[in-house]
Symmetry: C2
Subunit: 408 residues, 2 copies
């Protein structure tokens, strides 16, 4: 799972023909916090989306589903500070946001992807958009990706931007994205908000197939707190300005595109997990030797979701019994007596369990390994060749603090 392609600057405006902006329009009280992002393509785009599987879904999800039903879109509008969910007039407001994008950018409302993130069930008004959309649209810039990344942040402490470049059929292509965490994240379809743009020419059905596949191995394998949000969405817009022959079927070009998409999404997962609410450490679980992929995934997700393990990792306590315990209730069909467990970090490797039983290890070494800020729990099931990775973080005092008083 090494990185195939070079990372580049630019995030969501790294690809040709995309402009972005992020401004404070007044959804949030804090004037220094940008709260609305706008992303627009110069040319029509193939569009693909994955949505939260929560039964309770924000009004923007319903509106976006309708707008991308034809496989095309050209702009994305997203606010933070209010989820526009469980509001009686939510659809009206989401439609209104799209209409204002049309008014000030010329992109038809039916080609606009709309998203909201923030508190659920708070009244929301269209007024800030009516007043500020003109300014937002005027700020669209081919270097505006960073402002857009900042505007979609909620409790995130860092803006999240990743982009890569690669070639398809001799043409230089770009693919980049922005995302926001950092709580209410749990593997269940796309988690959190993520907007990706690319200049690759690709048919809508292929774009959707690539996204749906990649999401299963990336955003579905990311958990901060076990809560699946109501507003999660991953969107990819592909405008074809790289000039490659349009990808219309499986094959080498499709594989290259998917690899680039995977690399960007996996990197965003790492960044989001490390910036999980209150997190001090990135916690990954790498499972190898599974009899099949579903088993590997169940085990990896079970481990990174364990509240007790997350707290132990915060305390740099090598409580590996909690790893075994989590595997045991993960729902995976595994032979416990074959399991080996190691804790790995830049400070070294500590073997703690072999064949399902504890092995002696140096508490001092373990403390050193677990005191780093990127910890991998390596689980070898010794039952086959399938593998999986999942991303999470430690559970800290600050998670409780942030979420004990998020709304007021």
């Amino acid at each position: 799972m090494g990185d195939l392609f070079p990372f580049i600057e630019g995030g969501v405006t790294a690809a040709k023909g995309f402009k972005a902006a992020g401004e404070h329009l007044g959804i949030r009280k804090n004037r220094s916090k940008r709260d609305v992002a706008l992303i627009v393509s110069d040319a029509p785009c193939s569009a693909a989306c994955c949505y939260t599987r929560n039964l309770v879904q924000g009004a923007p999800i319903a509106v976006t589903r309708a707008h991308v039903a034809d496989g095309h879109a050209r702009a994305i509008i997203c606010n933070s500070g209010n989820a526009n969910t469980c509001n009686a007039n939510g659809v009206e407001i989401a439609e209104g946001m799209c209409a204002l994008v049309e008014k000030y950018t010329g992109v038809p409302a039916g080609d606009v992807v709309v998203a909201s993130t923030g508190v659920i069930g708070q009244p929301m008004s269209l007024e800030p958009f009516e007043k500020g959309m003109k300014k937002l649209a005027a700020g669209l810039d081919e270097n505006g990706g960073h402002h857009a990344a900042k505007a979609i942040m909620t409790t995130d402490t860092v803006a999240k931007e990743v982009a890569v470049e690669f070639t398809i059929g001799g043409k230089l292509c770009h693919l980049g994205g922005i995302s926001k965490g950092s709580g209410m994240i749990h593997p269940n379809m796309a988690t959190m908000l993520c907007f990706i743009t690319t200049d690759v020419a690709i048919a809508p059905a292929c774009l959707q197939a690539a996204l749906s596949d990649v999401v299963k191995d990336t955003f579905d394998m990311l958990s901060i707190d076990g809560d699946t949000s109501t507003n999660d969405m991953v969107t990819v817009l592909a405008n074809g300005l790289a000039g490659n022959e349009e990808i219309t079927a499986d094959g080498a070009n499709f594989a290259t595109f998917k690899a680039a998409l995977y690399q960007v999404c996996a990197k965003l997962c790492r960044i989001m997990a490390k910036d999980g609410e209150g997190a001090t450490k990135l916690l990954t679980c790498t499972v190898t030797g599974a009899k099949d992929k579903p088993t590997a995934k169940l085990v990896a997700k079970g481990v990174i979701c364990s509240t007790l393990l997350k707290a132990a990792v915060f305390g740099a306590d090598a409580n590996w019994g909690r790893v075994l315990c989590a595997i045991g209730y993960s729902g995976a069909d595994v032979d416990v007596s074959k399991i080996d467990v190691q804790f790995i970090s830049p400070a070294g490797v500590v073997s703690v369990c072999t064949g399902g039983s504890g092995v002696p290890f140096s508490e001092e070494d373990a403390k050193k390994v677990l005191s780093e800020d990127e910890i991998d729990v390596s689980v070898q099931l010794n039952a086959g060749n399938a593998q999986a990775v999942a991303w999470g973080c430690d559970l800290t005092y600050d998670y409780v603090k942030i979420n004990g008083d998020y709304r007021t």
Copy 2:
């Protein structure tokens, strides 16, 4: 779900013919902490057990399964401080504990229920039992229930004992239990350790049927942190000394017995939830108006398991959107647009959501209601007559503190 029978003192020694003891034998370093409990019946007992569904199970579970396979047992031995799980010689040690019970009490080793709780994967020795079992057995007392309750405590802050009295066929009967939490608790079969004794005469098959049914509505509906332990077990011993005609089939007497068992288990759930690791508040979710019982249970469990809601309750923040969100991902098939939500506590009732959308409420009143130490989230689904209740607690700084350094 009101209480049908009067609560009495005595816990696990409230029923006739049961003696108990709890001593420090040296499993734990802290000499002032009792760490082994012993419970013995004067007469042979029908026995029933429910076990954790974790694939990783402590050695004592395997030994107990074998010992109660014939539906009978007469004694219970349980240590805290070491889970005797993921140890290569675990079964040997658990068998050794039972043999020592036989040596000093005369109860055959094959009639002994054995349990352990504490850190997983730590080496364990039989030596403290060899040295101390004589003293423990000598201390068996018909008022010893409280010492036994103290000896099984781990991170619990209070000993957990409940007993009731009731009549069957004109005979006065007693049923009481002790249990220990308080972390690694999640609805999935029996959670935590719970030992119940009764002087009712009841056939083993009826006893198991009653326990299995009651567990589904009590311990299965209790979650502290989403982690299902490897060592959970609920055991009931019934020695028949109340002198009632033996219950051998469904009917009025069986119903009375089951109601008493439910009352004790439900009360223990409340006590355990309120004493959950780091908890400052008991959080219950009462679901009414469900189309069927499984739906009601899924919703109730989903709500009390939400990490985000638990943190909000700690902060007395009426973030009801998290209730809707949790219902949405609970897996229950519900019509979101019909859901009403209220927060209820001794300080009053606050309606926050009607028909799936927010309603205006006083933040001041909500703060007052949520500042109490027992909070009920009342969810009305308006889709039928089924109902369920689940028990949990808030998520606090202290949970993180306790679990960041539990082992060392």
